[in-house]
């Protein structure tokens, strides 16, 4: 149905046009899902936009053809193209929050597609809209139709986006990272919805994603993109059983999972080449473990290794011979020593002010009685979906946010309510690594100054320059990096700098707030390896805040699962992952898309989304979404039940 042939597009930069996508070809049949997989900056989103001819102003389509049902879209006049957009082909975007017009009602935004492409108005249009909202699984559609986007949750906004896309009854649906901005449980809902709609309507679907798990769940055929080129195209089965391109193999090897515990993850050295400096030969050559002299000279041609499985690679080998880094053996049995950090009944409540006098009318119970302990040298993973308060816990531990109640004892010292001097001493023991490597380094300071900040502020003493150089070596950066500015480094390198900054004061505890969620898989592997090595060398303990179960499986010794400000289950990693007792933990684990063919096991579907922490449900917070809720759950919050000496769960069912 859709034939893309030798599509080339670029972005104007001054006088030149930098090619972002260089000659990619693929086809999508009716009723088929084709996934374009690639890391950030590989040109997959630009490809999707080019198909709709919706490139940003600097974007230029340089050559090639895109034909839908035999009609070449790239030569159509703009006015005719508008008749295709929304009608024959529709698109949903990554950020549902910004992709809807904030000042128009949901009904208006769906209605304009119906009016434009289906000629529906008035009552007929309204009927159709209600029908569409029901199809995308929105409860109470009559009310939602007259609401504005800001009144909807993130998942609902994406459902509305899908309804808008479906309104024109398109033959091709382009989904550009449709679930990246959503939580795992909501992601599962949206993926299910998309898969169902596609089957029902027999649409073709182009799915743009970076997530191998999503690919395994959704795609029938997969194209892997690297640096503006398609490097491998394969059916789902071939892709997951016999990936042939070294890049694809490296992507799989870089995935953290439980079977790789205790070993270092495979990483891809180097970086994606810049648009302005694309190598002449194979673009992956510089980073390829199988590189041969011919790779640097000549760009490989397409080669079919099996029916429907083609790749562009000179290397004829099949099996991955990725260099295995030495086993880290981090998991040496750590003695359960006295707790380094003990948190008891920690609460962080933010007042809600309202009314004429701005009186406090309620509280956001961001963190509502969290207790946990971390032993020296161990990793505790704090897992939960967005808005559950896990980041607030991390910041409250370090007193970046003042807790409302509870106790935080670090190395025997009480931090809650401590004076400035006591806190100063504590700050040497606990530091933090933040989520966004681009926002966590001051762009106006040199890397050396950034790393030395803690040394000077806390008066650690010693030769600061020598310390900085040693730290840079330790995190795997060249020593001359200290003289340079953050913008000269890639995301992964910046995260190394942030880790070096935190380590500069020799802390015993590092709070890592989603340190890899903004990074690509191959870079994530580098950072995870680094964290493991550092733990082995320095014996530092981690509080690892994350929503990513794959990382948890790989890294954590202990796990605490949070829901709506409280910990619902905690224990040893193998206990919580292997024998989860709380229905929420079970649902979370089953919702994670697994990058394997056999990933589609028994899935537990959670309805709805996390409620607002300002109005937590009565009784067990989880009961409105819990598939096994009883009357008791609606009344009383469950007390902790010890499943084993190290494993506790807050659930009436486990009691």
């Amino acid at each position: 149905m859709l034939h893309v042939k030798d599509l080339r597009l670029g972005f104007a930069a001054g006088q030149r046009t930098l090619l972002a996508v260089d000659g990619i070809s693929f086809t999508i049949e009716r009723g088929e899902t084709f996934a374009l997989l690639g890391e950030s900056g590989c040109g997959k989103s630009a490809t999707a936009q080019a198909l709709m001819r919706l490139l940003p102003p600097a974007g230029r389509i340089v050559g090639g053809s895109v034909s839908l049902d035999g009609e070449d879209l790239l030569v159509l006049p703009e006015a005719a193209m508008r008749g295709w957009r929304g009608r024959r082909m529709a698109m949903i975007f990554q950020e549902p929050a910004t992709s809807l017009n904030p000042v128009l009602t949901v009904g208006r935004q769906i209605g304009e597609v119906l009016e434009r492409h289906r000629g529906l108005r008035g009552a007929a249009a309204r009927e159709r809209m209600l029908d569409l909202l029901r199809q995308v699984g929105i409860a109470d559609p009559e009310r939602r139709l007259d609401e504005y986007p800001f009144q909807l949750s993130g998942g609902m906004k994406q459902r509305v986006m899908i309804a808008i896309a479906l309104a024109g009854e398109p033959e091709l649906l382009i989904a550009d990272e449709p679930t990246t901005a959503l939580d795992v449980t909501v992601q599962a809902q949206i993926l299910d919805l998309l898969a169902r709609l596609q089957v029902d309507r027999g649409m073709g679907m182009l799915l743009i994603t970076h997530d191998l798990g999503v690919v395994a769940r959704m795609a029938q055929r997969i194209g892997v993109m690297y640096a503006g080129e398609l490097v491998e195209v394969a059916s789902r089965e071939d892709f997951f059983t016999t990936p042939r391109h070294p890049y694809t193999q490296a992507l799989f090897a870089a995935l953290p999972e439980v079977s790789r515990r205790g070993t270092a993850l495979a990483t891809i050295p180097g970086q994606v080449p810049a648009l302005a400096a694309m190598p002449a030969g194979c673009r992956f050559a510089e980073r390829c473990p199988q590189v041969m002299p011919v790779c640097r000279e000549r760009s490989p041609e397409w080669r079919e290794v099996a029916p429907g499985h083609a790749l562009r690679c000179h290397w004829q080998g099949a099996a991955s011979v990725l260099e295995k880094a030495a086993d880290l053996t981090v998991d040496r049995q750590i003695e359960e020593k006295t707790g380094l950090l003990t948190v008891d009944g920690l609460k962080v409540h933010f007042p809600i002010r309202q009314g004429i006098l701005q009186r406090t009318v309620g509280h956001v119970f961001a963190v509502d009685g969290v207790s946990l302990a971390i032993a020296p040298g161990r990793t505790l993973a704090l897992v939960g979906e967005s808005g559950c308060g896990k980041t607030t816990v991390g910041k409250a531990l370090l007193q970046l946010i003042r807790p409302s109640a509870g106790s935080v004892r670090l190395g025997g010292r009480e931090l809650v309510g401590a004076g400035a001097r006591e806190l100063r001493a504590a700050r040497r023991q606990a530091q933090m690594v933040f989520q966004d490597p681009f926002a966590s380094l001051n762009p106006r300071l040199r890397v050396g100054e950034i790393i030395a900040e803690g040394i000077t502020a806390l008066g650690v003493g010693g030769d600061a320059t020598a310390t900085v150089a040693a730290l840079l070596r330790q995190v795997g950066l060249p020593t001359d990096a200290g003289e340079r500015f953050p913008h000269e480094f890639s995301g992964g390198q910046r995260q190394r700098i942030a880790i070096a900054r935190a380590l500069a004061v020799q802390p015993q505890l590092l709070v890592c707030d989603e340190p890899t969620s903004a990074l690509d898989v191959s870079v994530q592997a580098q950072i995870l390896n680094l964290l493991k090595t550092l733990q082995a060398e320095l014996g530092v303990a981690y509080l690892f805040i994350t929503h990513n179960f794959a990382v948890v499986e790989y890294l954590a010794h202990d796990i605490a699962v949070m829901y709506l400000g409280r910990i619902v289950e905690q224990g040893r990693a193998e206990e919580v992952l292997g024998r989860p007792r709380h229905p929420y933990t079970q649902a979370l684990l089953s919702a994670v898309p697994v990058p394997r063919l056999d990933g589609a096991g028994q899935r537990i579907h959670l309805p709805g989304e996390t409620p607002s922490p300002a109005k937590p449900p009565a009784g067990c917070h989880f009961h409105p979404r819990c598939p096994q809720a009883t009357a008791l759950c609606r009344e009383r919050y469950p007390a902790p039940t010890a499943v084993s000496p190290t494993h506790t769960v807050n659930c009436h069912l486990a009691a």
Binding site: L400, R427, S440, P443, R444, E453
Partner: protein, 473 residues
Amino acid sequence: MNGFQIVVLWSDVLVWLLLASGIGVGVLIARSPPLLAAWRRVGASRAGMASATVLLAFLGIGLLDSLHYRVALDGKPGEKTQYAIEVLSLLDALVGPLRTENEKTYSAPFATHLYAKETIERPGQGTLREFPRLRFGGSHLAEPAAAPADIAATAAGAAALAVLGWLALVVLVANRRENPGDPTVDRQNWPKIGWSRLWRGETVFAWNAVLLTLLLILLTLLPLFALAGDYHVFGTDKVGQDVLYQILKSVRTALIIGLVTTLVMLPVAVLLGIVAGYFRGWVDDLIQYLYTVLNSIPGVLLIAAAVLMMQVVIDTHPQWFATAAERADLRLLALCFILGITSWTGLCRLLRGETLKLRELEYIQAAQAFGVSSWRIILRHILPNLMHIVIIALVMDFSGLVLAEAVLSYVGIGVDPTMTSFGTMINNARMELGREPVVWWSLAAAFAAMFILVLAANLFADAVRDAFDPRAA
């Protein structure tokens, strides 16, 4: 040569202080690559560099006009030297005749005769009413009819000189080496600019725009000054003063209003804006209250009230000032302060909003996690990341203030009436449009000069904003 006494007016101090701090900031910028990169983007902008060249020309005039002295009067030897009551500047000395060669009243540009008929006694012919010859304008000519030819010859000579001088400059530039903006290239290996790259505009710095603007400036200024010695090129005003001279003197007033005002309000706006945004709570409430109150009072009226009150202070304390120039100078500075006090609110609000965003950034929290003190965080992490807004505000405000001065002086709440400025020129000349035949040159010259200055400032401000605004990058 008489002796002289250097007079340091308060505004002179500020002007030179501004220049010094400008150079100081320049040195700081050169050491901070992100800022330097932004300025290099300004340097690459053709419109920006052309307007910067014009602005520099204006700045040169203003600086020359900011070195003041008083000439010693001839006195008996042995007596204590007395100094003239009139305060002169280096500019006055350079353009000498322009200042002193005053006619009786109006005369048109390049005129040889006065604009009004006068009764003249002619021996033997009795009294006549005719246009008398000017005392200075075209007085070197025996026959006034020769004026156009003389003007053309002088202008052509000067223009030829201008072109020659310009070509010399082009040669100089073409032989320079240029930093390609790539730190890996050594200074010795920087590429030479060369003719063809200059011509085709392929240089990193927008040299072609600068050179073309310079050519225009030279082609205008050299003939103008060559002719100014013999003619009143822009005519004379009611009291016979040369309009070109007034324009030159107005430049300094405009620059001071535009620059000193921002300098006055900048520290207040930056400090209060950052403090409000960083500390929040009651500090924020108080500062917000303060600027909402100040904002509520209509600007012109607040300025009017303040200027009236200042006038009362100045008038009731005549003993404070040794010369009229000092009094006018103080009034000018007071006006700058008043304008500054009424105009800091906008920037303050902008900085507060930006600080609110910055303080949530993770690198600020990282610093807090190290227990870095609030003031150090403000100084190290917040202020440098707000610099682009401050710089943009600084250049954007300039043109608005120059325009405001004209309006305020017209209303009577601007600079001292004895001080030459675009506003006072317009105010003095606006009734002349009612005359028959109309006297237009004074107004036209003032509006044209102001237009060039403000347009250059606006274009430069645009270039700076484009280069510094992170959204544009």
